[in-house]
């Protein structure tokens, strides 16, 4: 596979729904061996994490009532919350300077958190507005920022 082909696959993997690593693995499998290659890549990329998470799950249901395990899990969850918060801050910081996009992300966060707007509607409305705006900017000849 050429470098260009790989970069092409990476971009496709990021734009389409699904985990980027899994999508990229499928792309590579398909480039090398067609659909059977894609299936093999899918299995190769999803079976190991599935097996590991199953073991984690079995341990969880066996031991989560133990006070030490319980405390450890609660601590881990607080850490994961911090990581997610950091991720949200990092992604929002990337939007600085563009007030329309910042307003769009704040409104999205509020309607999802408070009014429980379904994901399909969120993507159709707020994703749609964002895509429409990028489209208009591109037509005006501005280079898209991404």
């Amino acid at each position: 596979m050429s470098r260009d082909e790989f970069m092409d696959g990476l971009e496709l993997a990021q734009v389409l729904p699904g985990p980027n690593i899994l999508n990229l693995a499928i792309y590579c499998g398909q480039k090398v061996r067609g659909v059977p290659g894609a299936v093999a890549a899918f299995l190769g990329a999803s079976i190991p994490p599935f097996a590991i998470v199953l073991i984690a799950g079995a341990l969880y249901f066996k031991y989560s009532s133990n006070p030490y395990v319980h405390g450890g899990l609660r601590g881990c969850a607080v850490g994961a919350l911090g990581l997610t918060l950091g991720n949200a801050l990092e992604l929002s910081w990337d939007e600085r300077g563009d007030w329309v996009r910042i307003a769009l992300l704040i409104v999205t966060a509020l309607v999802v958190s408070i009014f429980k707007m379904p994901l399909l509607l969120v993507l159709a409305i707020f994703g749609g507005v964002g895509i429409g705006r990028e489209y208009a900017r591109t037509r005006k000849g501005k280079k898209p920022a991404a």
């Binding site: 984690a56 405390g71 992604l91 964002g130």
Partner: protein
Amino acid sequence: MNATTSTALHILWTFGQLSVLGFGGGKGIIPQMHREAVVTYQWVSNDQFSQFYTIGKLVPGPTTIFASLIGYAAMPGRPYLGALLATIGMFVPSSIIMVIADTFWERFGESPWRPIISHGLGPAIVGLVWSSVWTISRGTAEGPVAYAVTAIVTLLMLRTKLSAPLLIALSGVVGIIALR
């Protein structure tokens, strides 16, 4: 239709929808997954949801693999079947889309639509990540120790190169001592 079959179909349908809507690597689906798994079907509690999400972040591979754990909990009589169905629902539909797109969309990187779609979806995805923070916080510990750990992990994540699993593990040690 018996209870097992109906739960099985609910699992496939729930995660299948999330799979197809999982733009941005799946970062945006957490609030909806919580709504279905905790509120609608009551497969797991708030605390379990946040802890499963944590396990998803801790193990190698995509975070959304924690769908397996929700499937596991959703079918107490047949946990491995539940886990398998949730994983198939979560990963197969988006993978099929990937295969189809690659078949019909040669040289996607040169398409003018690529930056328009990926950049245009950005604000909605980031808004959903903020909503995920809110969602996860509903099932995590409260009080000064918990808030301090969250703040410190956030800072370390932004300011250092420490890995996510390491930061989660260190938070776990604090939890064993102070959050029992």
